[in-house]
């Protein structure tokens, strides 16, 4: 059995030092809470005094141990509890506030210190004058241990082949595949200072730094030669950091508030490229492939918000925000292989770096008032501009480092190897009118109208207008039953489409262009900019059946239908002539046709005794998209562009059920448990016309299997107060995940001639975790 290599995720020196120092005192988790997961319910109002917030309000040190029954990266994907075996449990909380109820205080808190994902916080100051805080949060993201690779240098940004090249993956020596765990970590450091200058003025500044390292997987396109391998999936190295500063100066008075802030964010990648050798032999004989990695970039933003209160019920709120996003990292060469014909273009880079710049401006003003005793009104206007000032230039297109692309210089007038970048800018003006009126005691009628006018440059269309109408009625159906019913209608309309814009910077099949004179399929609509009509209905109810029993429900349904305009109806008659079959109707848009969804949630909370609370919830939801496609090929080119020849009916159905209880049988014992079951099914229904005969007759094609997953989570937790100072905590967690995904399940690393997969399987695990810890408190 091969040893599975692990991504070398660095432990930061500061982290190690802090953990080592605290480790002497403590080790981890869990008061009367579930282990490793958040609480699913908040305690009901009638028992909030019993709410166990002791982890954050009592002084304690917790020390214990746990045991995890199985190795699984997926099980511990966020907690870091990925290995079978024992682990420490450690945590602490220490709040100091002197007995005279002075405003001075300090707090130290640590949780999950036995895991890779953990938190430590230190805070202190004089309440009402200043406070400072320092925190660390480590977070793991583990993906899979089932992937294997054909390269050396796993975990670095330079992968070399472990064996000889092959024609395609099926010819690769599988004995040389190396298992490797894919995971990365994120360490977050925060420093904050908040100072009250005087009664009206206060200032705060926060610094946050995120450091990531480890690996993720990426696809790499290699050759484009029939019969040869064309792509591979490999791990690439992550080593970057993001720094953020947020500074705010605020003025607060009774009738006016004002604040001005500065936000700075900088992303810095220690790596600018990822080199990987091509496992496939090829005519050019070159091995090297190179991907660009996320470029360094920064963002500066100034925000100012002012509020003025004209009267007790009328306020004017205005915000101005101005931000600049910049990116100017040096370009990589077109190709790293100097011997290929395509690399003659390297001399022709139009510029050495992008000098990308986007200026974001926001102006938001809102007037809120209460013109009548029973009426509330809001009128708001927003101007939002995203001005992309990135220089436009013409770049040679060399599809892959190994391709022998047609040689052409960036200055050439036309040609399939020339691409021009097309930075999109948008400007939006939005008006919102929202009001509600109490038509009867506790019965509220609310209505709002939201109009948005958006303009685009270098996009498929120049403008869109979106209108959203909302009507909602909230009414007590009975003494203890409050119900609501809401309806939302949204529609978007806009200008005609420019059929030649979208793919200006990509590729157009010469046969397509020759037949139509177009660079884009005129029936295609990108759904985020396309016209649509949407209807949405939402109903909810909350029934306090009695003092011990509460039932709540929410149901929602929506349907979105995409519209034209002028799918296939060409503004230019010359285009019309170019298309066999003539004009198309507006119902033949390609891409997303409809989107719909339904959801029903029910919650029940029941407290039969003061020392026993039970709860249950259920959710059923379904989302679906119907889409229309048209396969373009020489075989059906004569059929006319408007003829759709396949339908997709993509559906996801989820059912989630959970219940639990919290019980204090006697003063010293606090018991609880939760169980959640989630079952999801994904369906991909594809129907298709007979090959080569596009037309209205749609036949069922070979069905795509359903994907599914089932997750069971059982938590049992108990706390026993041995004495006033010492408590024992007992936790048990069982989690079982089974899933099937045809894109992964039973797909071997070398089973396909075109792409070197990884052998990664759909996640499944079954883990039992036990934890026992002692809590020493009230010191």
């Amino acid at each position: 059995m091969k040893q599975i290599l692990r991504t070398p995720v660095r432990r930061r020196p500061v982290t190690v030092a802090v953990i080592a120092a605290l480790g002497a005192l403590t080790a981890t988790t869990v008061l009367a809470d579930p282990m490793l997961t958040v609480k699913l319910f908040r305690d009901s109002d009638v028992m909030f005094r019993d709410s166990d917030m002791s982890r954050w309000s009592e002084n304690y040190v917790e020390l214990g141990a746990g045991y995890n029954s199985q190795n699984s990266l997926r099980f511990g994907q966020f907690t870091g509890l990925t290995d079978k075996g024992g682990f420490p449990l450690a945590g602490f909380n220490w709040l100091s506030r002197n007995e005279a109820n002075d405003a001075q205080y300090w707090l130290v808190h640590g949780s999950n210190l036995g895991f890779d994902s953990r938190k430590i916080q230190v805070q202190g100051g004089v309440q009402g004058q200043w406070n400072a805080s320092l925190s660390f949060e480590g977070l793991k993201k583990s993906q899979t241990e089932s992937a294997q690779f054909y390269h050396n240098g796993l975990g670095t940004s330079n992968l070399t082949l472990r064996g000889a090249t092959a024609v395609n993956p099926t010819a690769i020596n599988t004995a040389l595949l190396q298992p490797f765990e894919i995971q990365h970590g994120r360490d977050i450091y925060r420093i904050g200072l908040n100072a009250l200058v005087n009664k009206e003025w206060d200032f705060k500044i926060n610094y946050r730094e995120d450091r990531r390292d480890g690996t993720r997987m990426t696809g790499v396109a290699t050759t484009f030669i029939a019969g040869r391998g064309q792509a591979m999936i490999v791990p690439y190295q992550i080593d970057d950091k993001t720094q953020q500063i947020e500074a705010v100066l605020a003025y607060t008075a009774t009738d006016a508030q004002f604040q001005i802030g500065y936000h700075y964010s900088r992303f810095e990648n220690a790596l600018d490229k990822f080199d990987v050798q091509n496992p496939y032999s090829n005519a050019a004989g070159n091995l090297n492939q190179r991907l660009s990695l996320a470029p360094d970039n920064d963002y500066h933003q100034v925000n100012a918000t002012g509020v003025y209160r004209f009267s007790k019920t009328t306020r004017l709120n205005a915000t101005y925000s101005y931000g600049i996003a910049r990116q100017n990292q040096a370009f990589l060469p077109y190709s790293v292989n100097g011997t290929t014909a395509a690399t003659s273009t390297t001399a022709g880079l139009p510029r050495s770096s992008l000098d990308g710049k986007v200026v974001n401006t926001l102006f938001d003003v809102a007037l809120t008032s209460k013109p009548l005793d029973k009426m509330n009104l809001k009128v708001g206007f927003q101007y939002r501009d995203s001005d992309n000032r990135t220089p436009i230039a013409r770049y040679a297109y060399v599809s892959r480092d190994l391709n022998s692309a047609t040689v052409c210089a960036p200055g050439a007038a036309t040609g399939s190897c020339i691409r021009s970048n097309a930075p999109v800018s948008t400007t939006e003006k939005r008006l919102v009118v929202d009001g509600d009126y109490e038509i009867a005691p506790k019965t509220l009628l609310r209505a709002s109208l939201d109009h948005s006018d958006k303009k685009y440059t270098l996009a498929d269309r120049t403008d869109t207008q979106t209108d959203k109408l909302t009507v909602e009625l909230r009414k007590p159906v009975a003494d203890d039953f409050l119900g609501s019913l809401g309806y939302v209608y949204t529609q978007r309309r806009g200008s005609s489409y420019d059929k030649n814009v979208y793919f200006r910077n990509t590729y157009t099949d010469p046969a397509f262009q020759g037949a139509t004179g177009l660079t884009n399929n005129p029936s295609m609509r990108q759904f985020m900019w396309a016209d649509f009509d949407e209807n949405r209905i939402r109903a909810s109810g909350s029934w306090a059946i009695n003092e011990t029993l509460n039932l709540q429900g929410v149901a929602e349904t929506y349907k979105q239908k995409m519209r034209g305009p002028n799918c296939g109806q060409f503004a230019n008659p010359l285009e019309q002539v170019a298309v066999t079959g003539g004009a198309m109707s507006s119902s033949t848009c390609l891409g997303r046709d409809t989107a719909d969804g339904n959801s029903l949630s029910v919650d029940l909370q029941y407290q039969p005794e003061e020392n026993l609370t039970t709860f249950a919830f259920a959710n059923v939801s379904q989302t679906g998209v119907k889409q229309i496609g048209r396969t373009w090929s020489a075989a059906n080119a004569s059929g006319g562009l408007d003829t759709k020849n396949w339908y997709g009916d993509i559906l996801n159905r989820d059912q989630t059920l959970g219940f639990g209880l919290k019980w204090q049988p006697e003063e010293k014992w606090d018991l609880g448990g939760t169980y959640v079951f989630n079952h999801s099914v994904g369906k991909s229904g594809i129907s298709q016309a007979a090959s080569g005969a596009p037309g209205p007759v749609i036949a069922a094609s070979t069905p795509v299997p359903d994907t599914w997953n089932k997750l069971h989570t059982l938590q049992l937790f108990a706390k026993w107060d041995y004495s006033k100072q010492i408590s024992w905590r007992f936790n048990y967690l069982y989690e079982n995940l089974k899933s099937y995904d045809w894109a992964l399940t039973d797909v071997g690393a070398t089973s396909n001639t075109a792409v070197l997969f990884t052998g990664q399987q759909a996640p499944r695990y079954s883990n039992h975790v036990f934890g026992v810890s002692a809590v020493v408190k009230h010191f």
């Binding site: 958040v38 005094r49 709410s51 309000s57 966020f78 907690t79 994902s117 004089v126 309440q127 949060e137 696809g219 790499v220 792509a231 970057d240 605020a250 660009s292 918000t305 509020v307 709120n317 931000g323 996003a325 990116q327 992008l354 939002r384 770049y395 691409r419 970048n421 930075p423 999109v424 509600d436 996009a459 990509t506 590729y507 985020m528 059946i545 009695n546 011990t548 929602e556 891409g591 949630s601 919650d603 259920a618 998209v625 496609g629 396969t631 373009w632 997709g648 989820d654 059912q655 989630t656 999801s680 594809i686 070979t702 997750l711 797909v747 071997g748 089973s751 396909n752 792409v755 997969f757």
Partner: protein, 326 residues
Amino acid sequence: MKKIIETSRTLLATLAMMLTMGLSISATAQTVAKDDAAPTRSRAESGETKPCIECHEGFYAITKTKHGVKGDSRTPAATGKSITGDPEDAMCGTCHGDLTEHNKRPRVPGLVPITFGKKSPAAPQNESCLTCHQAGARIHWQGSKHEQTKQSCASCHRVHAPKDPVLIAETQASVCFDCHKDRRAEMHRLSNHPTRAGFFACSSCHASHGSTAQRASLQKNSVNETCYQCHAQFRGPFLWEHRAAQDDCTNCHSPHGTNVAPMLKARLPYLCEQCHQTTNHSNTAYSGASIAPTSTTALRVLGNSCVNCHSKVHGSNHPSGARLQR
């Protein structure tokens, strides 16, 4: 299909059981004695006062909170005046209004000027809180989604608790789930942010007191600006942009959780084909015949599907990355 039907039946049966349980319990619980309407012994005439703690002991945890710090001149504990002589009662009237009449006749309903909770109108509750808390994160409260839906501060916050659950990452979600029930279910889907593990609170993205974002009360001015707080590697500006990504991350991703990693709204290649219906392979009907591991189309369907080659879906800065492959 059979399994789905069976599961649905199980679910319906459970719901029916829950409902039946609720109704039966409702009937029995009607007998729970209430003494609110019992005759009261008024202290009004004698002028006798009684410390609030005698009836409201459980609420005195507030003295351990920030509101109870007398050394901070802004707090109710520092500014309030006790009507009972007990200094601990000073803060009660700051938020609840003049409690003199209530103290004299404690069992007469309606004598507490401001009460907090679901059974009281939100506006007076919020006005009481906003007297001190109208700046900072609350500066956009008026006209915000939660304000429009008549949520009171007490709908989420528990000022008497020694620690407010909504202010702590590990317990915050349980408060939000009170209303946003579908989010609790979505948290259990296959691909997620680490909210369930307690490392990514709802407030990491959402500003529950209102904001300038177009929707969803986000922490920043837009969806993408909010996402870039943690995912600045996708901010660009890139030489070659993927317009769906530049427009709005939620065109493809559903951040509360989905069953398609990484939090995608639909499976590839079908998600991509909702826009990409052009030439070559981006408009092909990938049916069951396409997904055999040995098929010639597996390159575009299995593994990462379209992203096997077009791996730079968030944008590329490679001079030849026009098709988001490099």
